[in-house]
Subunit: 530 residues, 2 copies
């Protein structure tokens, strides 16, 4: 095993779930775990079995891993009980994970104040629990809670705790800066001592960002000998967040010569993985995020732009393509134009740059983006708009009107029910059609009514299904009178997916706009004539 | 002068203004400069006189400083001209600032590629310009652009450049990591060499956050001897931003024993200063910002909460009051009993922990969260639920039914319009009421109709307004049939704000649930009887 191999441990689904406002469903968790596994994260922590219904549901149907190991998190046994007789610990070791990670105290003050546990009994709790978990599951690791605070006050005791875990068979002993208050130079000094007691090849680091140093602290620990890093995607986590794996991975690989389970090819998916989490959380991605932010390689006019065009190394610390990002040149109209032409080439649209329609299309996109459209996340709508301006797309149907009624009332049985019913009037080649349908929400009803009219004429729509539906309010100052942007991701039975966008002050109207683009795109791609 | 005195240099108004989407007016600049001065920042950089009309207007009426010095930024003279005959340099030294900061090249590659300037002439440009600016203004400093990249490739030349600035009389020679790609251990190594050539008491550091290490790099430089730090408020700046002074100041003062111009009393205004910038930029403050974020001292996990209640040092790295922040206890799926009890105390709810109603409430919250509710972002709904289970909240009105109609059609003028109209049937003490209203969206219409009935009876609702409205789809696999969670933030004319949540398969229904909680909360808080 190379000394340059650093193992990555992701805690997005457990420590990340501690973030204010974050509330993963079991389905969210499965999707994120698959993504983490697919880019080569060594350990994926799923949650704390037995702690809440979501984690129980998630572990009951745990994701299959291809490259990484799936971890269950829990606590060392309680004082005065055997590991075998501790129901909390049993729920964790019996959860069907590949690895068990147990957290325990290493700060004498914490034992006394938070737990009221005898210091020697705490050491036995660590050793017993790790040995038991290793015996039951095969691989166990120890998260040494408050290790740095503990070491600063009582180094002997903190070291005794981590040695107990190591000697009981822990594959990894992870030094946690639980309160996030430790600084990089302190990490360097303390880890340099710890490696004299536990080999660096068995040590990990777990940092929090309370002083904006979680990434630097993790790097300092690795330079002092540690070979495992715990962190989260986008630095998600309680308070100020955990160490950001999205920043750490490229720094380790591209700047420090370390190897991880992530290949250079996986690394080009970094932007995508970072965005996936934001989408699951319905959050706008952080524009200025290191490596993956939209602005990370953006250059405002003037000196920087001309220098970057001469040699990118003038103002770029790495090649953006290495992490799946790309350079953005802001402001100049010329730059805008070349961006558009590059996007046209991307969607296979062969246009003459001098065609006056191109200028018209650029104006149209800029006007729409100013009004709230966002074509970056909705390639299908962008392609349709481009092809429409260029006169390519048939008019498959014309909507004369729709009406959606949402009714909340008490039914005859005394139950409160809400019904949605949509009526559409559509003109096809053979004349006007009308249909009505119910749904369990206004957009669902509208979708159902449209299909009643369209599927008999366009059977290609029979397998169209809505994969995801997102709503974002764009000018929250105006609250319910704000502009709403709806993104719809659609799919078909062949596994194709495409995303469309709609904008309106009315959420139903915005949803319809996105729905219409999705239907039109499906028919256009299938080569259907109107 | 104590060796522990670190000088702070703020570049929010110049480097911060390079941020994508940031466009300060002269009035914004004046307000921010006053704020920086008032908390004791040593140097406030106003901008680049002569570079754009905003900076010209700002310098023409420059802010008066109480404690700090006001700086003009510019570039060293051009090649082949004297400093006296360079119009760009003359605009900077003649702008009426207290200090002039001049940037120049120190990377041989940059001189060759970006400028096409002879290496020796570049050294003369630095020395001439600094000497001239010092003569004209009294204090001059040199920003050594790309110093770290330059040093890595040609240390002799990079050192020659900074020595030229120092020998020409620069008060400070500032080592800039312009591309942001340098790591903390490299900063330590390189600065340790530079201090052999220029005394640390005359060296500064200027970092960018492209690897998420700008704060750590600044600290590493200070530990290696540098005594000035350049940064920006909230880490504003081009690409991934500059070093964040808001994070650096408390770390230097509270954790490293350094003195700055900021007093411990000024430090308690840190949250306020950070928010001021966000308000000027009309941005939502970053929740998880170190020290000043709303979540920086928020506790969600059950174990953490019970420990923090015993002794805050268990899970807080500093006392939040030192930086003007405060502790927050969150309630959620993750939460244990102690979070609930702590939250009850915070909202002034005096309950007996052994009351069986408490267990029922905890079950109710957990069940609702499993069904999609999220109470950690919706304190008002949590409080209402708690008070309802405990039997405290009057029934202000009963909604018998509502109906919302969204119609999209062509009007008589041939324009496509979408109308939303809501009808509500509400029972009050005096019997049934009915009202209808239009809005520019279904929720807006529903809100308007409800007010028509309620405001005459409850005038306390007249100043209720919706501040923000967020929608999240929770089980996107089911797409339009998914469960929808709506968060509504409301406010009143006294500046109070509160957040409520609603969940349903129907977005209109979910919105109504959140709206109802908001109305009820406002009336309950106003002490209104039903």
């Amino acid at each position: 095993m190379s000394d340059k191999r650093v193992y990555l441990y992701d805690s997005t689904l457990r420590d990340g779930a501690q973030t204010q406002g974050v509330d993963f469903s079991a389905i969210d968790k499965a999707a994120i775990a698959r993504e983490l596994d697919s880019i080569g994260i060594d350990y994926v922590e799923g949650g704390w079995p037995g702690a809440n219904p979501t984690d129980d549901a998630f572990f009951a149907d745990r994701p299959k891993m291809g490259r990484g190991k799936f971890c269950a998190f829990g606590m060392t046994r309680r004082a005065g009980r055997s590991a075998e007789n501790d129901p909390g610990l049993q729920a964790v070791v019996g959860a069907g994970a590949d690895v068990v990670t147990l957290v325990g105290k290493t700060w004498d003050f914490q034992c006394a104040v938070a737990l009221g546990v005898d210091l020697d009994e705490n050491v036995r709790m660590i050793g017993d629990s790790i040995a038991h978990a290793k015996g039951r599951v095969g691989e166990a690791m120890f998260d040494a809670e408050h290790f740095f605070d503990g070491y600063k006050e009582n180094p002997e005791y903190a070291l005794k705790c981590v040695r107990a875990a190591y000697e009981a068979g822990a594959r990894w002993v992870v030094l946690c800066d639980t309160n996030g208050g430790t600084l990089p130079h302190e990490v360097t000094a303390i880890v340099s001592e710890v490696v004299k007691h536990v080999p660096g090849s068995h040590l990990g680091i777990h940092c929090h960002n309370d002083t904006e140093n979680a990434v630097a602290n993790s790097l300092a620990a690795v330079l002092a000998g540690v070979r495992q890093i715990q962190g989260t995607l986008n630095g998600l986590g309680e308070r100020c967040g955990n160490a950001n794996l999205i920043s750490l991975i490229p720094t380790l690989m591209l700047k420090m010569g370390f190897e991880t389970g992530v290949s250079p090819n996986d690394l080009t998916r970094l932007v995508q993985v970072s965005r996936l989490l934001d989408e699951r959380l319905n959050r706008a991605p952080l524009r200025n995020a290191a490596y993956v932010g939209e602005a990370a390689f953006a250059h405002k006019g003037g000196l920087h732009v001309s220098a970057v065009e001469k040699d990118p190394k003038c103002y770029e610390h790495i090649r953006p393509e290495l992490v799946g990002n790309h350079r953005r040149i802001l402001v100049s109209d010329q730059a805008g134009r070349s961006n558009f032409l590059a996007r046209f080439r991307e969607i296979g649209l062969d246009v003459d740059p001098t065609d006056p329609k191109v200028a018209r299309l650029i104006d149209e996109v800029k006007t729409r983006e100013f009004g709230g459209y966002a074509y970056d996340g909705a390639e299908a709508s962008f392609e349709l708009l481009a092809r429409m301006v260029l006169g390519d797309v048939p008019d498959y149907y014309r909507l004369s009107s729709f009406r959606v009624i949402d009714e909340r009332r008490w039914n005859a049985q005394g139950a409160l029910i809400t019904l949605s019913e949509a009526t559409v009037k559509v003109t096809l080649n053979d004349g006007p059609h009308m249909a009505v349908a119910e749904g369990n929400g206004p957009v669902n009803a509208l979708d159902a009514a449209l299909r009643k009219v369209l599927v008999p004429v366009y059977p290609q729509l029979a397998d169209l299904r809505l994969v995801d539906y997102k709503v974002r309010i764009l000018t929250p100052e105006a609250a319910t009178a704000a502009v709403t942007r709806v993104l719809i991701e659609s799919g078909d039975s062949k596994g194709n997916t495409w995303t469309t966008v709609g904008v309106s002050t009315n959420v139903i109207d915005a949803s319809y706009n996105a729905l219409r683009d999705s239907i039109t795109y499906k028919l256009y791609r299938a080569g259907v004539e109107a």
